[in-house]
Symmetry: C2
Subunit: 189 residues, 2 copies
């Protein structure tokens, strides 16, 4: 029963006793999702943080001109949400949908706030999680400024090798912030 991926993820940084594991599992909600199922829509209040038990998801924004920008992909063992909208309980600027049949664990905003109080070790867990997420985004910001699109494409396939069979060239292009035609010209090199 306790062989959930999310417990292995948590135990990378903190150790829970049996009671704490029971409590933690009791605040989670397991959800099985179909391919192309949307779990967050731009404009909606973002009430949940998601952990990927298996499968893969994509978070993206659509601007006023209808241009899509992919902000992140999430595969097994990753956390995903519109963090700004989740933390501040305001309308999402991102939509999130599955790229294949997937299973996620949902953690509700209010329940997470209670979890910090009830089991303060989770402060440590999420401190390390956010610290790593911040580092990842800081590295990405530097790459976005200083790397060519070709270098960024090579970093992408190194970072997400398991994603490649599941995503379209258009989605990769929208993650790199270029047109599919430009990406295709780079790949030919």
């Amino acid at each position: 029963m306790n062989d959930y991926q999310i417990l292995k993820n948590i135990e990378k940084h903190i150790t829970l006793n049996d009671l704490e594991i029971d409590h933690f599992l009791s605040v989670l909600k397991l959800k099985d999702l179909d391919k192309k199922e949307r779990i967050l829509s731009q404009g909606q209040t973002c009430k949940k943080l998601y952990f990927v038990e298996f499968g893969s998801l994509r978070a993206y924004n659509m601007n006023e001109e209808g241009k899509e920008s992919t902000i992140m992909f999430a595969v097994q063992d990753w956390w995903i949400t519109d963090m700004d909208a989740f933390v501040h309980q305001k309308p999402a600027v991102l939509s999130i949908e599955t790229l294949e049949a997937s299973r996620v664990m949902e953690l509700d905003f209010q329940k997470l706030e209670e979890l910090y109080i009830k089991i303060p070790k989770f402060e440590r867990f999420f401190r390390i999680l956010f610290q790593n997420a911040y580092i990842r985004e800081q590295v990405r910001a530097l790459e976005n400024i200083s790397f060519t699109t070709e270098q960024r494409y090579l970093r992408f396939i190194k970072k997400y090798p398991q994603m490649l069979p599941k995503i379209t060239q258009k989605q990769i292009a929208s993650y790199l912030g270029v047109t599919p035609e430009f990406l295709s010209s780079i790949k030919k090199k």
Copy 2:
């Protein structure tokens, strides 16, 4: 004695008693810096996290071709370091220097690790700090992909109004990832 900016920053998220304040201040090191003083050099191990009591600093990377990319600015009440290098105690990819005479508080890596154990409230403080930093970088990543340089310049002057008198056009251009000439052509519009 206790009117340090850093204590006001901490108290945004947690409350410390007098003993905890004394301990926290005892692990910090106050440093007065001249203009253009460098506190971290690319390639060096990054041992400190810095908090800006007053003044302003810039973190930047120089690539193999000698091109500079500014990754962040920090003004009063901000924290700054090469977080990847600090957390993993590995060589920095960023250099950090002052833009004017400044005062910083230094927090040593080992002392911060001990602080988490001794006063676990700091787990909460840094959880919230990293959470906000992650959100800021996620928003920036989306803007980098989906905004024009003109929109990003307007966001920049709105985000860092107090920086404008202190930084050169070249530094702003290197933050936006464009040439100074391109930035100048945008400003003329």
